[in-house]
């Protein structure tokens, strides 16, 4: 039983080998995988393997290719050879694979594409600049440089084109240029001496912009040449792109798998920098699961025979924590990791959390319909995602099952008391007053039990660590809780204690006696300052009333949505008005339920989590363990 609450038992090991066997040891450790390597303090600090120097530039080159051809988005199927079994890739083989890719040619290809793109962009920008002048058959710049008195100026007309043109013609010859995105441009040729006056006169109507320069014989000429150049560049670019496509289809997958292989080899080559080494020997240290010690030892012996020594090391260091729970409970490890990993000798609360979290979640949401929707959503998330999201999907699946069960207890399906025409009969109704009162008392009962369980686990943790004082203190807190609630049950008729009547086995005045004894115990074992926590002890229990309170608000929302009148009979009339209103109401119904489900998921999830983190874990769990990081993930 106790095993469910334990993290994986670990043992620290040390491997001693001759320095020439270093590479073999690294291979052996890597094949074994499930070892958390720590820095060895024996001998001198180690250095990476020699092959590092060869692997590192190859890795840089492959990564550069990967990013140049945007291969990160490429989905590469795991080749069986790269997966299990042969984890070792010889340096020569990898060099050959890299050479087959012809990285220089590929880099040249990527560079060519980039240059073409830059040139095309430049040409396009210039084309845009010259667009207004595309039929102007004279080189303004040249004329301007040859004559002493003539000046050209370009204006962007702000308002009243006709008037502006007339005004401009008072000073010289003005020409409207072709329109470009509703911006009228006007070119003026005028006497240089009149320039200032003209600018002043035109200022309210037009804004002067700079006149482009052209080395060609005219703007029109350059524009035509530019158009030709652009189509040529486009052709070249599409050629380069098709070359790249064929390169990617030939080598893309190869590059990605080579990068992965190189990364593995890089990690291996780097590993000995954590080892210790002397002139002839080397030592590696790390943590392995106790039950895997022999398989590690056998694997290394198989590889290196008697030239190697594998031993267990006695140490006062704290081992890293590795949670070990059956697959069904695995998703809930996410909640523990999110809070803080258990220290090595601490209780792993995953098992308890996996029981109580779905219970609270279901009690809050409690709706057959919503539960089914969340079940489907949870399954979809589990199938489509990996990592943390997948775990959340797993939590959702278990929680939604509990939601469906409580949906039957409360007789709620999409906010109604019937499902597919069948009338449901509640065991406990959240709509009627007696049901609400029962749920109120039930929430307090659950709070009482959960907090009590927390204290009991805390006492057990104290025994495990041989800190008996902690255990006694937890018992003293329990005495305060039991004494006070027994006192309430004995002396008052409160709805709180409806389901806590069993505590009346502690008759008055022993209830108060227990309470006082508990206070004395807390003062003795934890000090008088801790008495400040007494109010929060009771507010912790009352805090579980949120199970009922959030449930009620959820029911209110669901029943409001469910009261949207959807009349199928109106469809039969075939009147357009009736059909439109039916469709709109149906849409409102779907959106309303979607909102109710989202809110329910968020509230039930966060509040159940909080009840664990704040009210429950605070009684026995500290966390702060370090994560067990295996050399290789399976």
């Amino acid at each position: 039983m106790g095993k469910m609450f334990e993290v994986e038992p670990m043992v620290k090991i040390r491997v001693l080998c001759a320095k020439r066997d270093l590479e073999g040891v690294v291979e052996g450790l890597y094949e074994f995988g499930a070892i958390h390597v720590t820095r060895s303090k024996q001998f001198q600090p180690g250095r990476p393997l020699e092959k590092m120097e060869a692997v590192s530039p190859m890795l840089v080159k492959t990564r550069a290719l990967e990013s140049a051809f945007a291969l990160e988005r490429l989905k590469v199927k795991q080749t069986p050879s790269g997966h299990h079994g042969s984890h070792s890739h010889s340096l020569g083989e990898m060099q050959e694979r890299l050479a087959a890719i012809a990285p220089e040619k590929a880099e040249e290809l990527a560079r060519r594409k980039q240059t073409l793109e830059t040139r095309l962009n430049d040409a396009l920008a210039r084309k845009k600049e010259l667009a207004p002048f595309k039929s102007l058959r004279l080189n303004v710049n040249e004329i301007q440089s040859r004559t002493a008195f003539l000046e050209f100026a370009l204006f962007e007309i702000q308002q009243d084109a006709g008037k502006t043109l007339a005004k401009a013609r008072e000073y010289g010859s003005a020409l409207m240029l072709e329109e470009e995105r509703q911006k009228l441009k006007m070119l003026i040729a005028m006497d240089k001496r009149k320039g200032e006056k003209a600018r002043h006169a035109l200022a309210p109507y037009a804004k002067e912009v700079s006149l482009p320069h052209s080395a060609s014989e005219s703007f029109a000429h350059e524009y035509a040449a530019l158009e030709k150049q652009i189509s040529e560049l486009r052709l070249q670019l599409s050629q380069a792109e098709s070359e790249i496509r064929s390169f990617v289809s030939a080598h893309g997958a190869g590059i990605v798998s080579l990068r992965k292989a190189l990364e593995t080899e890089f990690k291996k080559a780097e590993l000995p920098s954590k080892f210790g080494e002397s002139e002839l020997a080397a030592s590696a240290e790390g943590w392995v699961a106790l039950n895997k010690f022999h398989s590690l030892e056998n694997r290394l012996k198989e590889k290196l025979g008697d030239r190697i020594l594998v031993e267990k090391v006695q140490t006062s260091e704290f081992p890293p924590s590795k949670l070990k729970n059956p697959a069904v409970l695995k998703p809930f490890e996410f909640m523990i990791e999110f809070f803080s990993l258990p220290r090595y000798n601490e209780i792993d609360p995953t098992f308890i959390t996996a029981l109580t979290f779905p219970l609270f979640f279901g009690m809050i949401l409690g709706d057959i319909g919503y539960g089914l929707v969340l079940l489907l959503l949870g399954i979809a998330i589990m199938r489509k995602t990996t990592g943390a999201l997948k775990k959340i999907g797993g939590i959702m699946v278990l929680s939604s099952i509990s939601t469906i069960i409580f949906g039957f207890i409360y007789a709620e399906a999409f906010g109604l008391e019937k499902i597919l025409g069948f009338q449901l009969h509640p065991l406990l109704s959240r709509v009627h007053e007696e049901g609400i009162e029962a749920l109120f008392a039930l929430s307090v009962l659950i709070g009482f039990l959960h907090v009590t369980l927390g204290f009991l686990l805390g006492a057990w943790q104290g025994v495990r660590e041989k800190h008996y004082k902690h255990s006694y203190a937890k018992i003293a807190w329990l005495a305060i809780l039991f004494g006070f609630i027994a006192f309430l049950a004995n002396s008052m008729q409160l709805i709180f204690t409806n389901y806590l009547q069993f505590l009346r086995v502690i008759p008055s005045p022993f209830d108060l006696g227990l309470f006082v004894a508990g206070i004395a115990g807390v003062v003795y074992f934890e000090g008088p300052v801790q008495l400040m926590e007494i109010p929060s002890l009771f507010s912790n229990v009352l805090s579980y009333l949120r199970i009922m309170a959030l449930g009620l608000s959820g029911v209110a929302l669901a029943s409001i949505v469910a009261s949207i009148p959807l009349d199928f009979a109106s469809l039969a009339t075939l009147q357009p008005g009736a059909i439109i209103s039916f469709v709109l109401l149906a849409l409102l119904l779907v959106v309303g339920h979607a909102v109710a489900i989202m809110l329910g998921l968020l509230e039930a999830g966060i509040q159940s989590l909080r009840l664990h983190y704040v009210e429950f874990y605070s009684k026995f769990y500290k966390g702060g363990g370090t994560q067990f990081v295996p050399l290789r993930e399976d």
């Binding site: 009352l542 805090s543 949120r546 966060i606 909080r610 704040v614």
Partner: protein, 75 residues
Amino acid sequence: MVDFGPGLIAVGAGLAVGLAALGTGLAQSSIGAAGLGLMAEKEGKEGQVLIMLALPETIVILGFVIAFFLLGKMA
């Protein structure tokens, strides 16, 4: 003579939940801001921030309990 009693009780119940929620909101606003700051500075503190953020919520629950009892009196 109109009996104001039940009305006043109902108003009291509303105030109990409403003011408690206001207090919780005030407390959470500064805790949330500080918590986000902590999360930005240091990774892996999400769990603790969530706990700190959740602490004042109990105030609303206590307000709700008072309101529940007040409404019980009305009936």
